[in-house]
Amino acid sequence: MEHGSVEAEVPAAGLISLTDVMGSLVKVFVLTIPFLVESGIFVSRSMAAKLNRPIQQKQIKTDVKVSIHMRADGTIELNKKVVTQEQLEDLVPKLLARSIEKNALLSADNEVVYDNVVQMIDFLKSKGAGDVLIMKRGG
C-alpha cells in the first residue's frame, strides 16, 4: 500500500516541474514580444515628393539647426561640414537645444544602405529631434 502511494507522488512532482517550466516559457515569450513585433519610426512630414532641388530648402520656414547629409563613402556632413561620429554626437544635442521646433533635416546619397539611414534617424530622435524631415536631393 505504501509502495503504491510513493508511485503516485513521483510523477506528480515531475509534472509540477513541467508546469513551472512551461509557465516560465510562456512568461518569457510574452515579455520578449516587444522585441519581436515590428513598430515604426515616423517619417511624418516627408518632403521627398516636393523637394527636388537643394535651393528649395531655403523655402522651409522652420528654425532647423541640424541638417545632415550621408554620403555614399560613409562620411557625414553636418550643416555642410564633414564631421566625425564623435563630433556628431557632441554637436547634435547642442544644436537641437538651440532650436525651437527641434526638427532635423536628413538626406542621403542614393547608394547609402537603408539600415544606416534608419540608424541616423534613430540617433537624431534619441538626441531629442522632434521630427526628422527626409530630404531628396536633386539628380
Binding site: A49, Y114, V118
Partner: protein
C-alpha cells in the same frame, strides 16, 4: 487510503492537463506570432532602432525585399501601381471613417535593411503621391 490515492491521481491528471495547456499555448504563440504581429506575409529583415514611435495596427504595409521587389500588402507591384493602390486604400479608409482626413491611414514601409536608400525613397515618393500623410518606417526594437 484508496480514496486518498484516487485523489492524488486526480491531482496528477489535473497538473498534467495544465502542463499540456501551457505547452499548447506556448507552441501556438510561437507559430502564430509572425501572423499575429505582421500585417503581411512578405518576409523582410527590417532594421533595429531604439526609438519607437508608432503602433502599426490597421496600417497599410508596403514591403521592399532584399532584391528590391516592391509589395503592396502581399501583392508584388511597381511604383505606379503602388501609388494607385495606396490611393484606393486611402479612399476606402476615408469612406469607412468619414471623420478622418483624406490620407490619414498609416502606411508602413517595411524595407529590408540591406536595400539602398534610393529604393526606399522612391517607395516613400510613390506612397505620398497616393495621398498618404502618415508614413512610418518599420523597425524592430533594439535591446542595447
Amino acid at each position: 487510503m484508496a480514496k486518498a490515492k484516487g485523489g492524488e491521481g486526480e491531482v496528477a491528471q489535473a497538473v498534467f492537463n495544465l502542463a499540456n495547456i501551457f505547452a499548447f499555448i506556448f507552441i501556438t504563440l510561437i507559430i502564430a506570432s509572425k501572423q499575429m504581429f505582421q500585417s503581411t506575409s512578405v518576409e523582410v529583415e527590417v532594421p533595429k532602432a531604439k526609438v519607437i514611435e508608432a503602433d502599426l495596427e490597421q496600417s497599410i504595409a508596403v514591403s521592399i525585399k532584399k532584391d528590391r521587389t516592391l509589395y503592396f500588402k502581399d501583392k508584388q507591384v511597381d511604383l505606379q501601381t503602388l501609388t494607385q493602390l495606396v490611393k484606393q486604400a486611402q479612399e476606402e479608409y476615408k469612406s469607412k471613417n468619414p471623420d478622418a482626413e483624406m490620407g490619414e491611414q498609416l502606411v508602413v514601409i517595411r524595407a529590408d535593411k540591406s536595400v539602398d536608400w534610393k529604393t526606399v525613397l522612391d517607395a516613400i515618393d510613390a506612397v505620398k503621391r497616393g495621398g498618404s500623410k502618415r508614413i512610418t518606417l518599420a523597425v524592430i526594437k533594439r535591446t542595447t
